[in-house]
Every structure is written in C-alpha cells, then in structure tokens.
Symmetry: D3
Subunit: 314 residues, 6 copies
C-alpha cells in the first residue's frame, strides 16, 4: 500500500483517511451546488469536487474535518484532481486525529530542543547568551511547534526549529573553515532570525498570516522583541544593536524585506545560510517525487524553475 496522498499519481485510485483543509461551495453549470474540497494528509494534498451536494453535506464536510474517501485521480488543467466515488465522516472508532494529517519535521522535538540548548550552551559572550536564552525560554513551546512558513519551505510542524537546527549545523562548519567568524553572533542570529514568525503566523494547522503579520511582518516585530527583552534584562551593550541588525538584515536587501542590508560579517553569512537551507528543503522534497531522468514541477519560490534529476542518480 502507498504511503499517503502525496505519492499517488494520475490514474491511481485512492482509498483512505484525509483531512479537509479547505471547503468552498460553488454552483455547477447544471445549476446545482457542489463543494470544492482541498484534502490533505501528512504527505501532500489534492483537490476534489463533491457534486450535487445536499444542505447536510455542506454542514458536514467542513474545514478541519477528517473523512474517509475513495476516488480516482484525474488531470484537470494540468493539475491532479480527485473524482470522488465514496465519502464519509471519520468516526471515533476509526482512531484517527488531526495531528496525524499534518506533515512533521523529520526530526523530533526533543532532539531539536537539545540542539538549540547545545548551541546556546556553547556561546561565550554572556550578553548574547542571556538574550538568546531568554527569547528561547519565552517562546519555547511555539518554537518547537510552528512551521517556518505557510508554504514553499519547512511548511510543516516543527519546521521552524528544524530550519534553525539545520542552519546551526552549516554555521558550525563555516566557523571552523573561516575562524574570523564570531560563532556566538552567528548562532544567535540563526536562532533569533525567524522567531518573529510565531507572531506572524496563525499556527500549525491551516496556517495563515495574523493581522500584525500582515501589517508589520516578522522582521520588525522580532527587532522590537529583542529590544523589549534586552530592556527587561537591563542589557544595553552593542550586542543588542548587533543582534537586532542581524535579524533586520537577514533577507539581504530592501526589496526582499530588509530595510538595512547586512553590514556585519555574520549578518551577511546568516543570509546565505538561510537561503541554502530553504532551497535544499524545497529541492529535496520536489526531487524526491520524481524519478531519474525527469524534471520536477515548476517551483514557484525558485523563480519557477523545474529541476532535473540526472539519470545516473540512483
């Protein structure tokens, strides 16, 4: 049996439990109402149409409901779409729960927390260490739960912490290769850079942007947060300013959301480590779905490129 909806292809028949991610009512060309459902499990998602619905159907097949479904995968305007043969609400006796249908980081939370703790522990500059520790303590729970984005890369449970720990690993090696890098600063920048996403995003299921996420964005919010925490800890050395700068500049240029570009060595490198880990995450997941000799689908967040997997890859 296949592992999940993300592994089915055009022509396959799917049978199993899925979560309704979105449900929208429409009117068909014959004048009858229907539902467009976006269905997901931990491996991917697919659109499906439920035709000729009753008012009951409308009130039952709603967002975040788990259902059991049977259907065929067809192609519609170049995308897969499921034609539903049978559908029913999941029962308590089915033993399924919402968290089963959400993609998770490939590393568990304890391990992620351990890696964060270890990085903080290695810091030698006490000011930097105190600030980072206070931030991680304050946001520990969501930090281990949140995705790093609503889509594109690390958009799964614990994605944020997974992204941070991968970046820490790259940083460790670069600090060895380039001893001029200040490891404390780089580690701190990596841990702090995206924590503002916890205020920017709504959560881990059906993730969307919060009002403050839309009106301010995670970067200025995190700059402010570092200021508040430094105030509370009564710290005001140049370290505070530099950490704020690292967060502020980590998107690299104004057009990408950093009103000040990196002006400190570690800020520049932080930006590149962030890019590499985000891109590897997108590339690996897209290439995982294709066979040697094939191209991936076009990846929007990578300038719409389709990537090729050479035939000599196993």
């Amino acid at each position: 049996m296949k592992r999940g909806i993300g592994h089915y292809q055009i022509g396959d028949t799917f049978e199993g439990f899925v979560l309704i991610k979105e449900s929208t009512k429409g009117t068909a060309s014959n004048g009858k109402p229907f539902l467009t459902l976006v269905l997901r499990d931990a491996t991917g998602e697919i659109e499906a149409k439920l035709w000729d619905i009753t008012q009951d159907d409308e009130s039952i097949f709603i967002q975040e409901q788990i259902i059991h479904i049977t259907g065929e995968l067809n192609q519609f305007r170049g995308k897969a779409q499921m034609r539903i043969n049978a559908i029913r609400i999941a029962q308590t006796t089915d033993g399924v729960q919402v968290s089963d249908f959400i993609e998770k980081a490939p590393v568990d939370r304890e391990e992620l927390m351990e890696k964060l703790t270890e990085a903080i522990f290695e810091m030698e500059n006490p000011t930097i260490q105190r600030i980072v520790r206070a931030v991680v303590k304050k946001y520990q729970e969501p930090l281990l739960l949140y995705p790093a984005a609503t889509k594109n890369h690390h958009e799964y449970a614990s994605g944020l912490a997974h992204h941070i720990t991968s970046m820490l690993k790259i940083a460790k090696e670069l600090c060895e290769l380039y001893p001029q890098l200040n490891q404390d600063l780089l580690y701190a920048g990596i841990i702090l850079h995206d924590i503002g996403k916890i205020k920017e995003l709504s959560g881990v299921v059906s993730t969307s942007y919060t009002l403050q996420g839309k009106l301010l964005g995670h970067i200025p919010m995190m700059v402010e947060e570092i200021g508040h925490i430094a105030k509370e800890l009564k710290i005001d050395g140049e370290e505070v300013l530099i950490l704020q700068h690292l967060v502020l500049s980590h998107h690299g240029k104004a057009e990408w959301g950093s009103p000040t570009p990196p002006l400190v060595r570690e800020a520049e490198i932080l930006h590149f480590i962030d890019l590499i880990d985000a891109k590897m995450n997108m590339l690996n997941r897209a290439l995982d779905k294709v066979k040697p000799g094939e191209f991936t689908e076009k990846l929007f967040a990578m300038e719409n490129r389709a990537f090729y997997k050479p035939t000599f890859e196993e």
Copy 2:
C-alpha cells in the same frame, strides 16, 4: 551688503565670518601641504583652498572653528570655489557664535511646539492621543532642535519639527476634503513618522549618522519605540499596531525602506504628504537661487532634474 555666502556668485569677493564645516589636509603638486576647507554660514556653504600651510595653520583651522575670511569666488570643475586672500580666527570680541552659522527653520520653536500641541489636543481617540503625547514629551527638546535629514530637505535646525508642522497643515485640509480620513490617525502618523531620526542622526551641527542609524535606521527604531512606550503606558489596543504600521510603511515601498507597504488608508496618504512637503522644500530653496528664465542646478534627490523658473514668474 549681501546676506550670506549662499547669495554670492562666481566673480564676487566675499568678506565675513564663516564656520569651518570640514577641514582636510592634502599635498599640492608642488609638494607643499594645503587645507581644503568647507565653509558655511546660515545661508549656504562653499569650498576653499588654503595653500602652503604651516603646522600651526593645520592645528588652528579645524572643524567647527569660526573664522573671518576674505576671498574671491572662482569656478572649479563646474562648482564655485573660494580663493582665499585673507583668513583669521574669530575672537571673543567679534561677538559671533556657532549657532549663528547654522541654517534654521523659517518658523521659531515656540510656534512649532504650539502647532504640535494643538494637533495633539484635537485628537479624539484617547489611546492615540496618549501615545503621541508621551512620545512628544519624551523627545520634546531634540524634536524642536533636529534637522529632518543630513541633506536634501529640511536639513537645518528645527527642520524636523518644521517638516511635521507643514505636513499637519496639508493633512488638515485633506481631512476636510476627504472626510473618510481618520484625522487622529493621520496626525499621529505625521508626528511620529520621522522621530526615529533623533536616534538616527548625530545632532544639528555637522550632522552625521549614528551607529544605530546605520545598522537599523530610523524606521525600525521608531516602530520599536512605539512598542516600548505602549508597554510603559500599558496600552495594547489595535491602535498601537496601526501606529507602528504607519511609521513602518511611510516610505511607500520596500526598495525605499518600508518592508511593508501602506495597507491602511491614512498610511497611504501619509506617504504622499511626506513626499509633497519634502519636494516643495527642495524646490523652493533651489528655485529661490535662480532668476526667471533660468534652470536650477541638478537636484540629486529629485532624480537629478534641473528645474525651470518661467520668465513670467515675478
């Protein structure tokens, strides 16, 4: 007698007191040391060369020293340059002081403060009013002293407050014409939008950027400051978020330093009022220096355009 260095032209002989704004040593082609002086008074500035200097000269003619000078204005590479005939240090008995040589806003501080107070007084939303009042109180002194920029527009003493009060006047009229505008929000946005410059700039004489000005910029610093003040005042309604958004977005687009563009009606209008007042300030001062039928010099901050004064202007 002419009113100041800014009103002299190529071919004129200048005699009077000026402030040394910058002093740099160089070596002439005959191998002898010389000083390049940038001289200023309240009306403008000019470059001058002091040839064949002694070690004494070097230690006397330094930045922020007032001097009495006689010289002729020549053209050098398309710019005016003074050829010094006589130069001496100002004496106490000359009765001149540094503040005499700094350009000032055409409106005095009391009047500026009064206009600010009046705008705050007119606010009806108590939350907005409290935040604005607290910011103005905290920064009152520098707010009335600082320029709005190091160059281009309102780059004179009290320039910041002058800029704000001119903008308030435009806002008042727009609120009348478009009653849908929330006057409290627009006034508050105008008063707060550039106060971060007080942290970004070094002061009013020989203004330069501070370290935090370079690494963070006035916009994120002011967003943070509003957060701090709201915390101190124990305010956390949506007003705080909207005021932060107004400040954050007032440069209009990411490329111009606003990571989030205006997404609230008053934010959009704030951006345009800011542009109009800055441009009028530049244009009026540049056109003031030319006669009808002439073009101004090229204005760097206005896409390097040279503006024309029609012959039918009086």
Copy 3:
C-alpha cells in the same frame, strides 16, 4: 431594501432592474449554448450565467438592454456570480432608463461647472486664463459628462470634472501653504491635464478606448490641442509652452507615459495632486464596502494591495 447590486453579498438573493453591460455566448459542457452576462447598476456590477438559452434569448439579452432579474449570489473561483432564477426585459411601463444604471459623481454638473468657472475666474495671468477658458468652452459638454478613466478611479459619469474639482481644492490649500506656487499655472494644469481623455475614451456608457486614444494617448493629443488653441487665439508666449509641459509631464516619468518629467515646480506638484485624488477615490470606494476589522479585495491599480479598515473606525 438594499441600495443596489454593489451592496449584495454571497448568499443574498437579488431582485431588481439591472443593465446588461456585456453579453457573450458560450457552449456548456452538456453541449448547450448559454450566455455570460455582466450586469450593472449605479452601485456595481456582477457576472451571471443564463443556461440553456434559445435563439430568442440570444437576440434579446444584449448589451445595453435593461432587464429585471431575480437570482442568488454564489461564489465562483473567488468572485461573486449570480445564479439566475428569473429574468425579463424591462418594459416602458417600468419607468427605468439607461442613465439610471450608470454610476455618477456624488456632485452634480452645475456645481462642478461652477467650481471650474470660479477657478478660471481667479486667474490673474490673462494668457493662461484665455487658453484655459477657450479649452473649457470648446469641451464643456463632454467635460461635464465623461468619466476620468475606463476603470480604477473616477470611472463614472462626470468623473473627469469631479476629479478636476477635487484636485483644485487641494491645489488651493497647497498654494496657501506654499506661497511660492504659481496658482494660475497650477489651476490651469489641473483643468487641462486630463481633457485629452475626451478624445481618448469613447463616452460614458461601456467606455472603451478610441483609435486615436490607442495610437496617441490623451497626453500627446492634449499637448497638440493646446498648440492649436493657442494658434487660433494668436497667443505664443512662454505660457503656452509651460502649459504644454504641465500636461506632458503630469504622469511623472517616462515609464508612466510622460516622455519629459516635471521640470517646473507646478508640474511636479500637479503630478502629486493627481495621484492623491486618484488614490483617495479608489481607497474610499473600496473601504466603503468592508466592515471595520476587514481587508478590501486586492486593488489592482494600487499594486494589488488589500487595505485594512481598523476596528476602531466607526
């Protein structure tokens, strides 16, 4: 009862008279012909599908026909669409006429004309006054009838004159605040700047671009027109050139349709007044449709931004 189609929402049932703005025949997936109708009244427009049509239907439900309709508003691909329950042609006895279904400026024509006359009357430069008066006299009727655009802003009957008079109001205040502005020039620029739209657009119902509108555009046509009128009036002072420049440069940069950028003070300010009034018109109408705490739909002409109405707005 609701005021018009623009105020109905998904789920509502509409009943009333509307104008057919567009009617296009298609073939449904069951092989039968249908009509896609765009329906409008003075408050807005909506798409509707008329299924299983006869040849009669096709010849009756045509562009600019008024109909009485009953139907439900559903969502289709993220936009509202009406499902028609009943439809019939309006009768003479219904007492409705095409002009009832066209959006109009909120100010009537007499008042608009009065404001224009007053602005011309205030002019002191006789050359400028004569040219403006001649243009307004020549185009008086369409000037009071035309929209200012086919979409985005002031796209309603008398929109052009409404746009001009709002701009004159802003100009009046700016001239007071900045006495250096030449009021005659600025008023003249405002009145003339978009009159070329009368040649560029086809009229006020189902507005489209004329051939000369597409091949030349309103800006070069109006520059030429000023030249013709000055010739007829036997005027050739610098005023003619400056007025042509104001019209030519009012879009601000080459990319936006002004081959020469503003090079006269009033030209620069004209550009900004034009922007402010266009943006306020779009923003007010979009925000009018949402409740506090909501975002507007994405506004294409404002870089696709969705604007937020704060919860503390009444």
Copy 4:
C-alpha cells in the same frame, strides 16, 4: 601632414588652426588664473590648458574664435590633453572661417535634397505625400543644415538629412524583401521622425537644447506640427493619425521617450531602421580611429562597450 586634430595621438606635436568650442576660466594651485579650452576642427576635438593668463587673454580666447596653435598631446586622467607651446588669434589673411572647423556629412546637400525629393516623388498615397511635402518645404533649409543630435551619432552639419537618407535606403530594400510593408508610410515616417530636432536643437555650431527642446522634446513637438500642417492643408484622414503615431512611437518604448509603443507594422520597422543607422554611424566612426587588433574607446551611447576590430580586417 596629418588630416586634423582627430588623427593625432599621445606624444604627437600638433600645429595648425582650430576653433575654440568652449573656454572656461579657473584658478591654478599656485593661485594664478588659467583657461581650459576645448578646441575643435572638422575631425575631432581636444582639451588644452592655457596657464598664467592675462586679462587680455581672457577676452581674446573666447568661444567660436579661430586660433593658430602649437602644442604637444599628453595624457591626463586617461584622456588626451594638449600642452600649449604657442597660440595666436587667426587673421583675416589666414583665410580660415568657422565653417571649416565643423564636421560635415560625407554627402553634400544637393545630393541629400535630391534623395529626399525622390522618396517623396515615389509615394502613391496623395494624403501622405502632401503632408510630407509640406513639412519638407517648410523646414527645407534647416533640414539640410542641422545635425541629428548634439553628440553620439550624426552630430555634424547635415547630419539630420544624412541620417534620413541612409534610413530611406535601408527602407527601400526592406520593402522589397517584405512586400507587406507600406512603402509610403515607411518613407514618410523616416522623413518626419526627427524633424522635431530642428526645434529641439539650437543649430549646428555649439549645438545645445532649446527651452522647448528641454520642456517638450522633439517627439511631442513633431506630433503637434503634423497636426498643424494637416489642419492648414485641411486633411484629416486616418493617414494623419498614423503619421503622428509613427513619429510618437519611433523610440520604441516609454522608457526611451515614446509614450505609445509602435502599434503599426511600419512604426515597428521604423524604430529598428533608426537604431541600425545610428549604431552604424557611431561604430564606423569609432572603429575608423583604431587599428586591426585594437579596441575602440568605450562608447557611452552603446552601453559603454568598447568594440574590437579583428586583426584580419585590412
């Protein structure tokens, strides 16, 4: 003997008559006045410094004065500069006149006029023919005298007519290769496209931009002119509109000064013929100055590229 100043190189000694194109006074580092002269003849131009000048020198060595000069060519900041050994004003007996020192098209005026007349004669559409004939008649004298630009390409006496006739030759061949092209339209567009330069430029000696050239530009002025002439001839067919469109769109895009891009086949081709002839003119003159195996200087108007002349060119 060498043919003119444009053919001398670093290290050469020049002796001969030249025209003073510009003369600017400066002050040397020893405090003495000097003149910076830009000297030209029909083959090129060079900068020279005249040190330690008297007041007499200043009033004698002025713009458009012919002088006899001896000097050495040195390098200064990467450009050639003449070190003057001897200088004197030209006498009547020297038999030299200003027009000797101005570069001219390699084809004489009679031939240029003949080619223009022939192209007009070949036109079959009487409306197009009448308009073009009227324009050429009205501007015949300056059309045969003016350069096509102040610099970069065809910036010599009769440059405008030379540019037009070269373009006509290319057009003739393209019309043969692509019989779909309307030869009348293309010829007319070529003849009219740059005639606005006659109003835009000041003349053929020390060419600069006129006020209307700066505030309107040759394109909108020529669009207007076609309108005036059509009015006078009482012509108003679609031909007038299309000819105006050809002129308006001939720079190809808004960023390059055409608010409307080419939307008629001949307009598109006109733009490319214009580009080819301008580029060939620049390239040929730059490559003419270098030997096989060398690069030209950087050509500003060709994106600052330096072009290579292959060694196998003779």
Copy 5:
C-alpha cells in the same frame, strides 16, 4: 471553400481533415470523462472538446492521429473553441498524411539551399568559408527541415533556413550601404547563429526542447560546435574566436541569453537583422489574419502588443 482552420472565425462551421496535436483527458462537471483536443492543419490550430467519451475514443483520438471533423466555432474565455458535431479517424483511402498538416516555409528547400550555397560561395576569407561550409554540410538535412523556434516566429517546417536566407538578403543590402561591414563575417554569423537549434529542438512535428536544449541552450552548444569543427579542420586563427563571439552575442544582452554583448561591428548588426526578420515574420502572419481597420490579437513575443492595420491598406 476556405483554405484551412486558421481562416475560420467565431460562428463558422468547419468540416475537414485535421491533425491531433495534443489530446488530454478530463472529467466534466457531470462526472463523465471528456477529451480536450488541440487540432491543427497547415494554417493554424484550435481547441475542441469531445464530451462523454468511451474508452475506445480515448485510445483512438491520440496525438499525431489525423481525423475528419465537423463542428462549430464558439467563443470560450475569449478564445475560439470548436464544438464537435461529428468526428472520425482518417482512412488510408482519404489520401492525407501528417506532413500535409504541418505549416511550411513559403519557399521550397531547393531554393533555400541554393541561397545558402551562394552566400558561402561569395565569401572571400577562406578560413571563414571553410568553417561555414563544414557546418552546413554536417547539418544540411535538419537545417533545411527544422523550424527556427517552437512558437512565435518561423515555427514551421524549414523555418530555420527561411529565417537565415531572409537575413542574408538584408545583410547583402546593408553591406552595400555600409561598405565598412565585413560581408564574410556577417554572412557567416547569420548562417551559424541559430544552427544550435537543431540540437535544442526535438524536430518539426510537435516540437519541444531536448534535454541538452534545456540544460545548455542553443547558443553555448553552437559555440562549442564551432570549436569542435575548427579543431577537426585544424584551424585556429582569430576567425574562429570571432565566429564564436558572433554566435555567443547574437541575443544582444545577458538578460536575453548572451553572456557577452556584441563587441564586434558585425555582431551588433547580426543582432538587429535577427530581430527585424523575426518581428516581420510575426507581424506579417498576425496582420494577414485581420482586415483593415482592425487590431491583431495580442502578440506575446512582441511585449503583448496588438497591432493595427490602417483602413487605407488595401
């Protein structure tokens, strides 16, 4: 009778043979499968829907199958779409074959080859001639068969050779007008510039990109090919380098695929000749389909412009 599918319009009924270019299965809103067919003949292509298909239909109506079809042309989302009335597979007895349905250059292969041979024959530089002759000999067959692109311009059988020979004709005339041009180089550049397309494209029916076309592109592949052939011929003069440069730079700038811009006179001109011929090919075919007084559809490869055919064109 009309000449082919490209000449039918909305409302017409078509009857005749066509080739299935693409066939895609979908599911209709009534749950039944259907095929979306793209049908073509030598004059154009159209989309058609085949509703309620059987499994047999699916296996019969496949890509590259010739069919006989009757149907009506309707409008669907602004594009023509055929509503199929009758459809059947072509029989051997119908006497039709795939090559009948592919658009061809308006000049036959013998004539194209003759023109190529003649151009090579005219070359005087033996090195250039040997390289070009070797390339043409190696690729002669596909060179006469391939299109010049998958869409936009010369996208028909022999399009590549047709494009080359048209360009040679323009080049001949330009070399006459501008004798400074090296005709050998220009001819060689024209013949070689797009031959890499033979490796980049899959062939002449259902043309797509090859793997090396996607990963390298025709320009670097052709640069390499010239190197290989020069090696085989044991040639290594500067001519090889210059020919490689001509191919490498013929797209004009980095953004358009030429990492080095044209730096040799003939390279610059090659780029413009390429543009003119591609544009004329697109324009002529688009304008051929409309009547005087109409606009063409929007041409994607020409910045989405719709071109106008003047009413005074016959």
Copy 6:
C-alpha cells in the same frame, strides 16, 4: 617594523622596496611632466606622484620595475597617496625579486594540489572522475598559479586553487548535512567551474583580460573545453552534459553571465558555495584592516557596502 605597504596609514612614513604596477606620464599645472606610479608589495598597493621628472626617469621607472622608496602617506581625494621623498632602482645586490611583491594564497601549492587530488580520489562515478582528472592534469601548472580574478576576491597568486579548495571544504560538510546531494557532481562542479579563468586572464602579474576572455568569457570557454576533453576521452554519457550545465549555470542568472540558470540540485548549491567563499574572502581581508568599532571602506563588489566590526570583537 610594519609588515608591508598595506599596513601603513595616513601620516606614516614608508621606507622599503615596492614593485611598480603601473606608470603613467602627465603634465603638472606648472607645465612640467610627472609620473603617476601605482606601487605594490605582497600586502597592498598605493598611488604616488613623482614630480618634475627627467627623460631618464621616464625610461627607468616603468611597469614591473622594483624600486626602493621613502615617502609620506597623505590623503588625496579621500584615498591615501604617497609623497615621495627618495626613490631608486633596486640593485641585484638588494636580493629582491618580482615574486616577492605579489600577494600569495595563505596555503602553499603542494597543499592545494593535495586537496584537489584527494577530492578527485573520493569520486565514485568513473566518468565524472575521468573528466575532472583530465582537466586538472591538462591545466595543473596554471591552476596552481593563477588568481581567481583580477580584483575583488582571491586576486592573488594561487587564488584560483585556494578558492576551489575552500569551496570543496564547504561542499564536504553540506553533503554530510544533506545526504541527497551527489558529492561527485558537486566536487566536480567546484573544481571545473572557474578553470576557464586560465584562458580568460593573462597571468598572475598585472593580470588583465585576454582577447578571448573579453569576447567569450570563462564560462562558455570552459563549457567548450569539457566538450573537447570528453571527445578526446570518447565519453558521451549524460555526465558530460550535466558537468557542462554546472559550469554554465554557476553564476546563477542570465544577468550575471549564466544564460541558463541552475536546473540541477548540485548546480544550485555550487552557485551558493561560490558566493559564500568569494564574500568571506573579501570580507575577511577588508575587516582585517580595521579596528573594532570601525567601518571598512566601501566594498564595490559587495554593492558598495561598508561593513562594521563590532566593538566586542577582539
């Protein structure tokens, strides 16, 4: 004693041996000839003026001559400039040679070669290994000698090999962190990506661009070279194409010189590793010259940013 010219500052007096990198003759304002010398040693370079030179001086103080010099460092237009007190040609007895004055990689050639050999040895795909080994063998000598650029980064002897080996180190770690990466491909891409510089650059002293460097560039030349070597080795698997793609795409986008963007996972990562190592090289060398609390000079190749060294750096 200080370590070299790169460590002297304004006000210091320098005495020692340097190499003349460039020597240009000029004429001073007193009419006398002088030389502008660019002097360098292994630590940096400086400009110096030699006034009132004789003809002998001119023929002695030429490019690549070693001299002994005494002088003072002054500031001239914001850059350091040496005022020469004494100057003489180096003698054989001075025991200095050109290679002493050229900056070298901080790692010696044997070690660099060893690291390259090791990387090749680790490869498992025999095709990739054979190609890389052949290239390295063919270019071994210059590969260990050449800089990686004429300026900006790794612009010193063995800079190319130093850049490659640093990149290999980063790659090794990334392959461990992201096991999906094909290490053979990534190593091969790193070793090959810049070897075309050996043809593009003139050598290690006074490095400039070769003719083929200017007309083709290192990227297309290396793509071709891989093709030649694969031909010689009679290899034509997909590996050749992928290696060519890695080299072709390593600048990341068309605007930066890669006509095809990275479309293979390792190509994308190669681009980022290249950027990181180049940036670290520039940053470390620039920050090395400033003290904590200072900004570096503006770095042209890093968007003209000046970087800050925090005060808490030791």
